[in-house]
Structures are given as structure tokens and as C-alpha cells.
Symmetry: C3
Subunit: 297 residues, 3 copies
């Protein structure tokens, strides 16, 4: 039994094992079957993409899915506390996938539950299964994760996918890691300080874009700015458009955890660099591999 | 692989094949099994009946069901666009059932998705699987669809079930087709003009009711009238009550896509003509037949 | 085929049969399989715990689950009446689990439906499957239900779990049954009068607590008091805290249907008397036993 709370919960070897398991699933060599074990979705913060992806992965490995994908109409609304809800699901299922708006909620759930907890995003903290998808996509395209130049782009301060990805990269040997964001949305100091590789911080994507192998895009949200004028000023500089893509290497790739709003121009979808839909398609097999490992481990 | 967007997507032979497949399922001769393929429900417009019917049909043929039956708590609320949501579900599933409040949404989804799209109602446009149920009910009761007198009754302008039924009837040889509605809710000219049979339009159901074999009732909604007085005036004339049923043939039938509010008096439920609950009971087998055809085709 | 509307629908022998079936399921001797029959959840009043418990029980016996756990986005919102919704689910499934805010809703559903109805809570009336869990917990801990002293504590007037438990106890031979509540929330006279055992009513738990084997706690809701001052006065006296537990017998137990808000101090969770999480864990096996009995009966 193991919990998946942070990218740090996986070693380099374990990441590679997951990639290989996922390859076997995609290739039809492995037909995982957990024989009707039950997976709980405990989405205190709503999400279609992630919830549906976990549900699909669960069904496809022969599990059953229960739980909720929004707290409306749940006991949470009657005032039940988080721990009691987790204890309920612990009784019902063999694994609990938790999403919550508070940092640390998944960790707290893991202290309450004797069944494995999978963090599907907790506040501004982490979203480790997204990093598994991200790096699996890199692995599929480049054959490996090591030796590449990464650029994380957009909101690096509040995006939990960024925290998880930065931490996941400590398990590999990236060549260069660029962090491209407005001053207000720089990656958090406490995370940057704990990394075992150096990062290069920039405001302007054009300074480094021609050097990038993997461009990882996150959305900048208006709400992060105290002043709408501030937001309007920087907004345009943090959109991936055809002009930016022209400066990218031929064999570089653009990733995005999705959903995307305006931060990638739709015309980019047809460039060879656009790999975010392919990336999304890898969410189900890698989560199948993860849940299968947890439920049969 | 095929999409089901309009009643026009099915030929006379294909309708009959569906009816026969559904007969085999009901009779227990065929136990369809798609071995865990995944069906997505993408209900951007909420619906219990149709969503539950598709879900039941999917589970009963051995499929798994994912997706959403309301957009609350979905990425759609975060601003994700329709195409990206469809692309997500395309990654997760072998077939996508779409309901949307906009005309043409299903068609648009079929242009984005490489997986088959089933239109479960798009705005005021079409709802083709409802017509399959409607005509399958006629087929079960009368042994055939040809040679009968149909009357479509109520709101013929905004009801997508009416559009789909009128178009589905082009695949058969109805004897007479009466369209009974207030002036304001006449069937759309562009649809009437494309039909390969003649229609007879009337205001007053009593003019033709004794001639009708199949009375197809739809609800008139107050919101369709700019002036509530207008609505109050016509409301009573478009209710199926015991008095109207008395004028109907002994072996005629009353259909309704349900849910029904006040447009059929509850006392009618016990008349031999009332076949709308029987009709509803055929929703699952015919959708089993359709999904089975799509998923194994 | 049978409906489960009230605790009265089960005889002493049938309660014991359920307990034994549930024991076999827990012990792994019985692996119930209903081969894909369909269970409907018709939760007109939202509930996570009960809905998820029934869903889990259904999946674990090889059933499929359809329906709704909240009326938002359902036909009910379009004005469809309750009977038509039940008739819809009757077409789709082999069993319908109903929760509704109106007393008598489950009974009414059973008059409409030819498929078995399971009452999962109707207004202030009953919640019979909760009593099955309650008494099964007693049976597991004490080896039997007879000969024990029960105390029902808190809101005895509006809590449907109390009505069902009082009625279920008529099938057994409780030694003493204490009813501990404020004057305003006394158990209903019409229910007390129909019981085949005597009850002892008290305001103050300390009068009887040292005599109690099974303390059954329910939440007192502020809304029940016309005057908030009234509520504030009595509130503190109806909380189970460490002080009260100190007066309890070593081998007595505390039960609660959950969710719990403040009526049991969280520090009580670690006392040996606290059995409400264990009780919750028995919800799934006893409901598996019940649904299996209904679906194969």
C-alpha cells in the first residue's frame, strides 16, 4: 500500500516502471484486471478532465468507480468534516483519489486513511499524476527524459502542475530548465531552492525559445493580479502563438495540462510542435498503470 | 465508424435492422457484449431521462460509462471550449453521446471527433434516437410503420423530436401526416419543404382526430409566447384529455417523448391508447441495439 | 419481489438472515453475483453517504448503477412528477433505491412501481436500511440484539433513523429502551404507542448513562427550534463528550448514523466505546446482503 501525494513519492526507477507498464497497456501486451476492486473519486474541488480520466482508467482496468466529482449535494454541505468523509470512502473502496482546493488536503487524507490516497490536485501544492503524464509524453516523443531543455511558461507561482513537474524533474537529468514568467508569477523560492538542478529565470520567452525542447504552458489567470491593468499589460506576452512557434526547434514540443483557454492560440494546434492533445491521450494509460500498481501492489 | 446526427443518417433498411436487433435483445436471443468498451455521456444540457437511458443501454451491453450529465463543475465552466472537451472524451472512450442547447452542436462534434458521435438532442435541431424509439413503438404495435395516419400535436416549431420524426418518416410510407398546432407553433417551413410526403396542417385536433392512428404529443411551453395571454388562450386546446381520446380510434395510440407535464391529462394514462410508458420502455433496447451496432461496426 | 419501506417489512428471522448473509460476505464465504442487473438510485434529496454506500454495495454484487443523486439537472426540475420519474426508472432497472424529503414518498413509489423499491430515507418517516446497519453492528459486537439496554439520544422527533430503529427493535427483545431528548424533541407519541416494549424517557443522559449498552446518537438541528436561545440552552447537554463516556460501561458502544457534526466530540473517536466508524463500515456488506436478496429473490 502506498500513497501518491507528491512527485517526490516516486523514484527515477518507479517513474520508468510506470512508463513501461503504460507502454505495455498501450501496446496491448498487458490487459490489467483488478477484478472489481473499487476506486473512490473524492473531488471536493470540481474537475471534469481529471475526474473523467481517473474514472476511465479505473473502469478500463476492471475496477468500479464510486464517489463524487463535486461537493454539491454531498454530506460536506451538511457540515461533515473532511476526515469523516475520507473515513467513509475508506470503508467503501480500495483506493481514494482526492482533489481539494486546500494545500495539504491529500497529505492529511493519507494520515486518516489506511487505504492508498492518490493526490489529484490539492490547492496550489501538487498534482503528481499530471507530472507522470507530462514526463511520459516527453519519454514517448524523445525516448527519454534526460538531456533535454525544458521551459516552464506562464503562471509558475500558483500552478500546482508546475510544482509537481519541477519536483519530478529532480528524478531525471534535465540539461537546462528555463522558467519564463512575469515577475509576479515567478516559481516559489522554497521550491526552486530544493531542486537538484539549476533553473534559468526569464521574463521574455523570445530570449530562450530557440533553445527549448519541451515548452510547458500554463494559464495565467486574471484573478492573480491585484490590478486588471497589470494583467492586461503582460497577458499578450504569455500567449503561445504562431509567431512564437516559428522560433522553436523543429523537433521541440509544446505541452499543456489542459483545459486551455486562450494561452495557446488555436492555430498552433496544427503545428507539429503541438503535442498537448497527444499528451492528454496518455492520461488514461499512465493512470491505468498507476492504479493497477497501487491496487495489486 | 459512423455518426448519428440526424434521422437522415439512417435508411429505411437501417431502421428496420435496428428494430429487429432490438426485438432480438428483448426476446433474449441476442445478449450483446462489447467487452468493456467505454461510452461517454457529454450532456452540456442536463437531462435525466435521456442520459439515464443511454447509460442503462451502455451498461446492459457490457460497456462502461463516463462523462457528465450537467456542465456544473466541469471544465466547461472554467471556459474550456466545446471542441477541446469533445477531444478529451475522444481520448477516453469509443463513442460519445452529445446533448447541447445549440443547434448543430452534434454535427460540429462529429467534425472534431474521430470517434462516433451520437446526437442526444441539439437545441431545436434534432433528436434522432428519440425517433428510433417512436417508430420502434409504432412498429411493435402495428407490425409496421407504413400505411398509417400520423398526427404531430402541440409545439411543432421548437420541438427537436418533431423535426427528427418528420425526417425519419421520409424513410417510410405514411398514409397521412397531420400537423396540429397553434399558428405560432407551426412546423418549420424549411423542414416541411424537404419532406417526400404531404402534410395536412390544422389548428383544431377535433378536425382530424378520428382519423389518426398515431398521435404524437409534445409540450407547449409558456416561454414560446411573447404574451402570457396568448398562451392562456391556446393552452387548453392542446391538452390530450379523456374527451379527445373518446374521439380516437380504438386501436390508435398516443405517444409522447416524455417528460410530460400537463399536456396529457393523467386520467388518459389508463386508456388503451396511452402507449407513452410502453414507448419509454423501448428506449433502452433500441439504444442498446444502436450502441451495439456502432461499437462493433 | 418485495419492497423495503419500513423496518416493519422485516421479521426477526429476516433480520437474522440478513446478518448471516452479511457475515458470509464479510468472511468471503459468499461472493454474491447478480450478473449485471441494474440498480437505480433515485435520490430526490441529496446524500453522499447513503447513495455511495448503495452504489458500492450494488457494484460489489456485480450490479450496474444508474440514476441520480441530486435532482439538479433532472427532469424533476422541468416539472416532471414523481410517479413518472419512478416509472422511467422502473423501465431501466431491476430495483429502485429512493430517497425523498417527503414522508411517504417511498410507499407511494412502491404503489407505482412493479420493481422493488428500497426506502433510503423519506422525510421524517423512516430509513429502514440504516436500522439494519445499526442492529447488525449490535449483533457483531454483542453476538445478539436481545437483552441489551438501548438509549436513543438527541433529536428523537424528526430523525427518521430513530423511527426505524424503534420499529426494528419490536422484532427483538431489548431489556430497557431509554429515550433521552429535550422536551421539544421527544419521540413521536404515535410511534411510542405502537411499540411492543416500554420506553423510559429522560431529559438528562447522566440519569441513565451508566446503565446503557448501546448509545444511539442523533444530531439536534438548530432549525428545529423556533427560538435560537432555546437551542443554545439545550445544545451543550446533548453532546457526547469524554465526560459522558467516562460514565459509560466498559463494554458499551456508541453508534451514530453519520454524518456527525458536533454532537460527538472528536476526542471520543479514540475511546473503545466509539463504534460509529465500525458501524459505517458495515453499511456496504449489509446492503450487499439486502440487494442480493432482493435481486435474486
Amino acid at each position: 500500500m502506498r500513497h501518491v501525494i507528491s512527485s517526490y513519492d516516486f523514484s527515477r526507477e518507479e517513474f520508468h516502471k510506470l512508463f513501461e507498464l503504460s507502454d505495455e497497456i498501450l501496446g496491448g501486451k498487458l490487459k490489467p484486471n483488478v477484478n472489481g476492486k473499487v476506486v473512490s473519486l473524492a473531488f471536493f474541488e470540481p474537475s471534469t478532465r481529471t475526474a473523467t480520466s481517473f474514472a476511465t482508467a479505473s473502469w478500463r482496468i476492471g475496477a468500479k468507480v464510486i464517489g463524487f466529482t463535486s461537493v454539491e449535494g454531498t454530506s460536506v454541505e451538511k457540515g461533515e468534516n473532511f476526515a469523516d468523509t475520507i473515513r467513509m470512502l475508506e470503508n467503501y473502496s480500495e483506493c481514494i483519489v482526492v482533489r481539494h482546493k486546500f494545500d495539504g488536503a491529500a497529505k492529511f487524507a493519507s494520515e486518516v486513511s489506511e487505504k492508498p490516497i492518490v493526490n489529484a490536485g490539492d490547492g496550489k501544492h501538487e498534482h503528481p499524476t499530471q507530472s507522470m503524464i507530462d514526463l511520459y509524453t516527453v519519454y514517448k516523443v524523445f525516448g527519454q527524459v534526460d538531456g533535454l531543455n525544458f521551459a516552464l511558461f506562464g503562471d509558475l507561482k500558483y500552478a500546482r502542475t508546475v510544482n509537481s513537474l519541477l519536483r519530478a524533474l529532480t528524478r531525471f537529468k534535465p540539461k537546462k530548465v528555463f522558467l519564463i514568467s512575469p515577475q509576479q508569477l515567478r516559481a516559489r523560492r522554497e521550491i526552486v531552492q530544493e531542486l537538484n538542478y539549476e533553473v534559468i529565470e526569464r521574463d521574455n520567452p523570445y530570449d530562450v525559445i530557440s533553445d527549448v525542447d519541451v515548452l510547458y504552458v500554463t494559464r495565467i489567470q486574471k484573478e492573480r493580479f491585484p490590478d486588471e491593468m497589470e494583467y492586461e499589460k503582460i497577458k499578450e506576452s504569455y500567449v503561445v502563438d504562431l509567431k512564437l512557434v516559428e522560433h522553436m526547434k523543429k523537433d521541440s514540443i509544446i505541452l499543456h495540462p489542459l483545459p486551455r483557454v486562450n494561452e495557446i492560440d488555436r492555430r498552433v494546434d496544427k503545428t507539429p510542435q503541438a503535442k498537448y492533445f497527444y499528451q492528454a491521450s496518455l492520461g488514461v494509460p499512465i493512470r491505468m498503470a498507476l492504479l493497477y500498481t497501487i491496487l495489486t501492489g
